[in-house]
Amino acid sequence: MNVIREALSQWNWYLDGWIIVAGILCSVATALLGNFLVLRKMSMLGDAITHAILPGLAAAFFISDSRSSLPMFVGAVIAGILTALFTEWIRSFGKVDEGAAMGVVFTSLFALGLVMIVQAADHVDLDPGCVLYGAIELTPLDTVLIAGWEIPRVVAVLSIVLLINLLFVICFFKELKLSSFDPALATTTGFNATLIHYTLMTLVAITAVASFETVGNILVVAMFVVPPAAAYMLTDRLGRMIVISVILAVIAAITGHISAITVPHWFGYGSTSTAGMMAVAAGLLFVLAALSGPRHGILVIFVRRQFLAWKILAEDIIALMYRIEERDPDLKPDAGYLREILFSRAWPTRLTLYYLTHQNQIAGSDGQFELTEAGRDRERQLVRSHRLWEHYLVEHAGMSTETIHRQAERLEHFTDRQLREKLNEDTNETDQDPHGSPIPPEELTN
């Protein structure tokens, strides 16, 4: 804990505050557009554009011979849009798929850009490292005066870009949704999907250019794609997905910076790159989302399956004990005896027996168990479900009496009282199953 306190003792609200603000503005601006890249399965195109803006930047250097922002901005945006165009052309004219087309375009442009930047670096003050990894730590040093406030230039630029992206997503929410989901319907109903596509790509290029000073040319891809992809795991509604991606982007920016200045100290190193840690934080959030998402989450699916397995085991135990009791009322089985017949593993059986005891469906003494009245009730309902299903399968599904047992065995575990009542109606309230065994009543009347 001391090391953390020590690391945070260097915390400076002015410096660290502005760095975090820049990180948040950048990650939110990218995440907003990233949602549509992910949903259009164009994450790679975002990647391509962000790489390909490099020669645009370099060309602007050569032409204007300065680091002034406007020519750079224009040059980079043009390069970004050209990437989208080239990719589309190569894809439609050459016989290659979109991935290969993009690979051709953006690696060539990126390489060209690198060569140009290394050349430019000789006579213009430009560090290739900063271009690739960003220099978010330098954010507070370069300020402009806006309405009497001294604001870092990067923050001012990113604020404008964020505002544009926000307005774009809010104003064209409906159009983006439609053209991402069904470009054919968009085009046939007069919302030009191609126009929307290139507008989105232009904004991606602008956002990438605005972000390259903070998180750099390479890491910006993580900011575009990872928070929306994580949000996609957590919800299945578009509006919620966008909101969640923004929240995750903010969390990634804050935890990214804090961990950049604390985590390395735990291992005795100095602070590391904030942009890098932002991408790492986003990656961790994605892993968390992938594990815990409500629908696709690996953990959730695992837990759901376990619960079902235990429920079925519990019902099998009750059923087995009922049959044992029918045959020999004095025999009180122990866990080992039950396991032998059910082929169940030791600890799930023990847990289930504990659970059933807790539910008062069985009572145990000295490791031996017997059914309680509640347990017999439950078993009677299971038998009732089973036999009603058998009857139904023969009557309504036209199955033969030999094959129905296994089906009914499975179905009985998923049958509640309501369904039993329906089955009872459909089978004309019969009291015998196809094998001639009696179907027990829902409640004992005595």
Binding site: C171, E175, T189
Partner: protein
């Protein structure tokens, strides 16, 4: 034709075709210089259910897409109610092929149906309550209002198809282009869709439907277009849906196809 009287007579060329929902003349479409459909010409009569029949790869989907300008035409002319598609596209509704839909997209059934109203709502304006009410009515009409709030991958095949049918219904078009609406649906849904198609026909709509199950063709469609790169024949079902024409359309593949259909049918019944 009686409807031509109601159309303004000032444009000769238009009035002559204004009653024909879809007129295709000399249409050729090619992918990478290899023709997919070749010299396709036909007119379809209004207020009828029309089936497009042909083997896989015959260019059925390509034909519909070319009609809607979704893919470029190598040559030919398409007219919708006597005008170019661009001028009359508001009169066309489209039900896409189920393979082309991204079922994991984060939208629910109601969202999808509401998309049919976006054109009417216009650029940038939000979806309002009244639009959702209309979308709900369409979902009720196809019988899946209870599932309006389900994400589309959690609907059954039949419910998914009905969702897209409901979307076409709210578009309130006069000509519907449907790419295999009966694919992967259960018997109950198939009946429901046929019922809705009949109702549409009775209210004067025309539907052009890509269809695969040859056995139901005479029952469902008044008019058929037999397509295998070229139009083999088109006309009233009773006239052109003949064994000879089918043999020409499917070539030697017909018996194999019949066999496969039969196997699938048996497998479905055993479920």
């Amino acid at each position: 034709m009686n409807t031509s009287n109601s159309v303004s007579p000032d444009r000769q060329n238009d009035t002559s075709n204004a009653a024909i929902p879809l007129s295709v003349y000399d249409l050729t479409v090619a992918y990478h210089r290899k023709p997919v459909i070749w010299d396709v010409s036909f007119d379809i009569p209004p207020g009828k259910l029309i089936g497009i029949i042909g083997p896989n790869g015959a260019g059925k989907s390509t034909l519909l897409k070319a009609v809607m300008d979704l893919i470029p035409k190598a040559s030919g002319r398409v007219q919708i109610f006597g005008k170019s598609y661009q001028k009359n596209r508001h009169r066309v509704g489209y039900v896409p092929q189920r393979e082309s839909v991204d079922w994991d997209f984060p939208v629910d059934a109601l969202d999808v149906v509401t998309m049919g109203l976006y054109k009417e709502i216009g650029w940038c304006l939000p979806v309002r309550k009244k639009h959702k009410v209309r979308a709900m009515e369409a979902l009720e009409r196809v019988g899946i209002a209870d599932y309006a709030r389900r994400q589309i991958s959690q609907l059954s095949g039949g419910q998914q198809q009905r969702t897209f049918l409901a979307r076409a219904l709210v578009q309130n078009a006069d000509l519907y282009l449907m790419d295999e609406p009966f694919a992967a649906v259960d018997a109950a849904t198939e009946k429901a869709i046929v019922q809705i198609l009949q109702e549409m026909k009775e209210s004067g709509k025309t539907a052009l439907v890509i269809h695969h199950d040859l056995q139901t063709v005479p029952e469902y469609f008044d008019y058929v277009i037999l397509l295998n790169m070229r139009v083999i024949d088109h006309g009233l079902t009773a006239d052109v849906f003949t064994p000879e024409n089918l043999q020409k359309t499917y070539g030697g593949r017909l018996t194999l196809l019949e066999e496969a259909t039969e196997t699938m049918r048996r497998r479905e019944q055993s479920l």
